[in-house]
Amino acid sequence: MVDVAVIGAGQTKYGNHPLGLKAMWAEAATNAFNSVDNNFEAKLVDEAFIGSVAFGGAQLGNTAAILTEHSGMKGCSVRRVENACASSGFALRDAMMAIKSGEADIVVAGGIEKMNDLSAERKRYWLGVSGDTEWERLAGLTFPGTYALMARRHFHEYNSNHDDLVNISVKNHMHGFENEVAHIRKEVSFEKAAGGFMVADPLTLYDCCPTSDGASCVILAADHVVREFTDDPIWLKGSGAGSDHLALHDRHSITQMSATQKAVAQAYKSSGLSVNDIDLAEVHDCFTIAELMATEDLGFANRGEGGIFAREGRGRRNEGDVAINPSGGLKSKGHPLGATGTGQAVEVFKQLKGIVEPARQIRDAEVGMTHNVGGSGATCAVHIFGRDR
């Protein structure tokens, strides 16, 4: 089987972006091309997989075609991948599989979302489009609501509490503070985060990620062409994906995500690695409770002990067992839906290459993980990257 490496990765800054869809993508793609150690040209790309929910007001259909033709990839095989917030996590998986199939040598996986060019009223229409529209939306739920239901139930079943979520928020803001591409580069105190405006009881403003614009792009290469581009590739060592019932009420449990459990089991198996090998993990913390549950589902904490893990600071950069969200995560770095999954891969690529801002560098980082969840957990893609093949 062909091995797959990441040879380049780049992104835009996340946030309220002045650029439109095409310009944002061009910037992310250019940053990715320029990050390749040796010369790289867009025309070398065989296939492109671009994740997007198509939230913004520019292009709904054929998004991948218009983006790639504006970034030097006209003519290559392209498509948009849509799995809600996990769109580009799945784009990355599809890109890897295209290479493993032997049909392609160089493949781009990327993602993009423009969320802040809409009026407040139109934005409201998009809130929660990826939840169960017929039953959850008509019960008044958008994602803050569904995750709030999970949080309250987790508190009830496992004696976790809102302070545990506040600890996650404080950590991620601290991690994102020095990240030049983060949407919110602001540290928050425990007291401030604990007293935030209530968005969906018990989740406050500081438990929720922002709505961000942004684009991200990762370049994958087959093992037999890697050395043409770099002597220092980051290997994509494992990949897993899973799905679950879309609606919370159909799931076995609302305090764990079986899609994540399935995806990470596959990723550990395909990489030959275990949870103890992970030095850093970019975890899908669209809401703080999502990170708490993910630390359990990914194996960093025992079932029901995600609150204790957060309380004890075991996910803090260069202090804990493993660095959880060294980029600041969705909470601080931002969450441009379709761009988030490959944006996580950009962070892991840079951490493993040792090229992030020095203050954010995870010491001796050898293995990193990305965990990208669609909506309230209906889909999940997990990838494991390493410096060694």
Binding site: R122, R124, L127, A139, G140, L141, P144, H156, L248, H249
Partner: protein, 289 residues
């Protein structure tokens, strides 16, 4: 039609006030404004009619069909209660043939009575004064929401999709498979095997397993006119005694903070409207000791 005021026990029923007699049932909104009975945040004559019929059915009345003016949504009442609503056609070729009449007042009250019988006025206990501004704002919000030009620009439940799920939504119709209830109905089970068509309703006994109150700005666009007036909307995640779970809006929840473990009952209310089509559904009400 209404003759003398009588003293009769007020029944609190499905969030309304009701009075039940041998040949009649009067039901009204508990909210009062300047002496008039007015609708609450999500009620109308259709939801009152549903509650009245359900009360009569709970008292053993056998109602097959009821005559009604076209001011109520007959399909919703029939779907929810199983009672046929006979409505006169505009050309008057359809005769009001039922033995019972559904009478609608100008205010938030309906009466169901034997055809051509006299009615007795009733003074309910337990009415609540409603804030005039709140009432005006919520009424105005519904008017905007019911406008034919009020259309979705994003996630959307079409009328066809709503109709497909209406029996599950309005009377908790589910499927039975190997002694287990499945709700909302599904096409196949987890093994890819087809499930028999929905034919059995859940009993409607359920317990709160989680809940949240969403701030107005976070509510789906379907609720964007009303959520700010209501100060947010509360959703409960419940488990039915027969196994399935579901999410429902809480009705009249201004002063209610649910607790995990609370028992709920289900009431028929307006959910939202788009394109001049009101989607009705069940909402939860906490059962108080």
């Amino acid at each position: 039609m209404m003759d003398e005021v009588i003293e009769q026990e007020t029944i609190v029923w499905k969030g309304y006030l009701a009075c039940f007699g041998n040949d009649s049932c009067v039901i009204q909104s508990p909210w009062i404004l300047d002496g008039d009975c007015v609708f609450g945040a999500d009620s109308d004559h259709t939801t009152l009619a549903v509650a009245a019929i359900q009360l009569m059915q709970s008292k053993g009345c056998n109602l097959d069909s009821i005559n009604a003016l076209p001011d109520v949504e007959a399909s919703i009442i029939t779907m929810t209660t199983g009672v046929e609503i006979v409505q006169a056609s505009e050309d008057e070729t359809v005769e009001l043939s039922a033995d019972w009449d559904l009478c609608i007042s100008d205010d938030a009250r309906v009466v169901i009575c034997k055809k051509d019988s006299d009615l007795e006025l009733w003074q309910p206990e337990g009415t609540i004064e409603v804030d005039a501004d709140f009432h005006q704002e919520i009424t105005s919000a519904w008017q905007k929401e019911c406008n034919p030009n009020h259309v979705s620009q994003g996630a959307y439940i079409s009328r066809q999709q709503y109709d497909e799920g209406a029996a599950a939504r309005l009377k908790l119709l589910g499927q039975e498979l190997d002694g287990k209830m499945i709700w909302p109905p599904r096409q196949m089970d987890d093994n890819g095997l087809a499930i028999p068509q929905a034919s059995t309703s859940l009993h409607g006994e359920a317990t709160v397993e989680s809940w949240t109150k969403l701030a107005p700005a976070g509510a789906p666009s379907e609720f964007s006119f009303r959520a700010p007036i209501l100060g947010g909307i509360t959703t409960v995640f419940v488990r039915f005694k027969q196994g399935p779970r579901g999410v429902f809006l809480l009705v009249d929840d201004e002063d209610n903070n649910p607790q995990i473990g609370d028992q709920v009952q289900f009431v028929t209310r307006r959910i939202y409207a788009q394109e001049a089509f009101i989607r009705y559904g069940l909402k939860c009400q906490i059962v108080k000791e």
